[in-house]
Amino acid sequence: MSTKIVDRKPLSFFENSYLPTLVSGLKVTWKHFKKSAIQGKPLTMEYPEQKWVVPQGYRGAPYLVKDQDNNTKCVSCQLCEFVCPPKAIRITPPGPNGAPADRKNAEKSPAEFEINMLRCIFCGLCQEVCPEEAIFLQKDYSLTGESREEMVYGKARLLQLGGIHGGIQKWKHKLEEAKEQEVFPVHAE
């Protein structure tokens, strides 16, 4: 495919004098100046006071969650550690002599669970892969710290930040999904 050369319209004398450009430039700048300086409606937000409304499905920082009985949901299966692309997650399993899980329907919980937020790319694979639905990408987007060590979030901190993920009971929605799939829609062909 060859390049098509488009003829430019030759400028008239009036246009060549730069005056129309000046006027239109003044018009545009004045419009914006009026909006933000005189009417006081700039497009930007003043961050710490006004906060952005995070949309549904936003992928923020991954935190561990607890179930409705305030028990740790994570069972230290290490699937997330395995799947994590930047290797941001590090789980220390409890080991043979470790403490048992604090809920009845689980065998163990992690001795330590660390996410390095400097490495995390917020891809959401950990949430996707978790069989226990124990880790969720939540809506935090402003993670700050004064040192690298501080940005490695430990288990206690992750649980505290994640909070109780209300309403979600283990396997409940899987059951619903399964039930849905039992009723096949019958199409009249």
Partner: protein, 362 residues
């Protein structure tokens, strides 16, 4: 004042001049700082942003109503900016030509401030002998042009000293640009001085007080002077020496900290002196249509200085505003505008003025 009278006239002159120099320097520095703030604020507003509105020293809390307003307007920002420039790491790359690299920022600043020496920024203060101009030269405008023409060295040397591609290109561009537009600028004011008949800037102001502002006598000269001033101070749309989208930062790519701040200072000081020149040459200096007599009282003198600074501020806003109105010129367009349009136009203006003046004198 009485103690003053006992001193010799020469000593009095020296003391008075020193005070004037110190004051003008101080006021200009403050003005530069707040011009930077104005630039940031107006730019922000034009881009639908808010601009600096946080920086507050501890005392701001104790000012009842005005404190929050000042903080909102960013009035304390320049102090923080200055402090930041002072405290940043002063980095000198290993491959630069050291001596020139260190000298260039200083050379860029000095001419801009020297220009202010001949600007009459007020009429008189106290007694009629105290003229509000540092050096009342009879070749005022020539002095200005001479000093302004030295301003190019700072930029060229910065480009040369950095020993790297982008600054070098910036330096080369700037040397050609400044020489070209100096010619147009000089030619445009010739017409003004033909009308006035004196090179002293005080005489220009006296003339304007009597016959009205020069911008109405010589509109073409004003337009050429204004646009050339944009080119001389490297402001958009003629900021080719530093154009950040083509040359990264142009001549100051390799500079940081206080050395960079000096370039910054030089640019704004040059803008201020260009505005001051325009106020003096075309807008009647410290006069207004109904205030044209040299001040007899202290208050009147201060009022004249205030008028001057007010006019100066308006022109500074024009400088800042135009930055967002027009896109940057291409280099050949810049040269074309300078050599093929402004110089012939200015020459034609001189000719027309001469013909009109000849007819009037007959």
């Amino acid at each position: 004042m009485n103690v003053f009278d006992y001193l010799e006239p020469t000593t009095q002159f020296v003391i008075f001049s020193a005070v004037k120099i110190a004051l003008v320097f101080g006021v200009t520095m403050t003005f530069v700082a707040y011009a930077v703030l104005a630039e940031r604020k107006i730019s922000a507003w034009i881009q639908d942003r808010v601009g600096p509105n946080r920086t507050a020293p501890p005392i701001a809390k104790y000012l009842p109503v005005i404190g929050p307003i000042l903080v909102r307007l960013g009035m304390f920002q320049p102090m923080a900016d200055g402090l930041k420039f002072l405290l940043k790491e002063d980095f000198t790359p290993a491959y630069v030509r050291k001596i020139y690299f260190w000298l260039a920022p200083a050379i860029a600043v000095i001419p801009a401030f020297l220009t202010l020496a001949v600007i009459p920024f007020g009429s008189t203060l106290g007694n009629p002998e105290n003229k509000m101009v540092i050096a009342d030269l009879n070749v005022g405008i020539l002095y200005t042009f001479g000093v302004v023409s030295l301003g190019v060295y700072g930029i060229v040397l910065a480009g040369y000293a950095s020993n790297s591609k982008y600054p070098f290109l910036g330096g080369i561009r700037s040397s050609a640009q400044m020489i070209s537009y100096e010619i147009a600028m000089g030619m445009s004011v010739v017409a003004v001085f033909m009308v006035v008949g004196d090179l002293n800037l005080g005489a220009v102001i006296q003339y304007q007080a009597k016959y009205g502002w020069m911008v109405f006598h010589q509109p073409l000269a004003f337009v050429i002077f204004l646009i050339s001033a944009f080119a001389e101070t490297n402001r958009l749309p003629f900021d080719l020496p530093e154009s950040e989208s083509e040359l990264v930062g142009g001549y100051h790519t390799e500079y940081s900290s206080m050395k960079f701040a000096l370039f910054f200072l030089g640019e704004y000081a040059a803008m201020i002196s260009a505005s001051a020149m325009m106020v003096t040459l075309f807008f009647g200096g410290w006069t207004l249509p109904f205030i044209s007599e040299p001040a007899s009282s202290l208050l009147g003198g201060l009022l004249h200085i205030a008028i001057f600074i007010g006019k100066l501020s308006v022109l500074m806003v024009v400088f800042i505003w135009v930055r967002w109105m027009l896109p940057r010129f291409r280099y050949d367009q810049l040269m074309d505008l300078g050599w093929r349009r402004f110089i012939p136009l200015a020459l034609g203006n001189i000719l027309a003025t001469a013909i009109v003046l000849a007819f009037i004198s007959i």
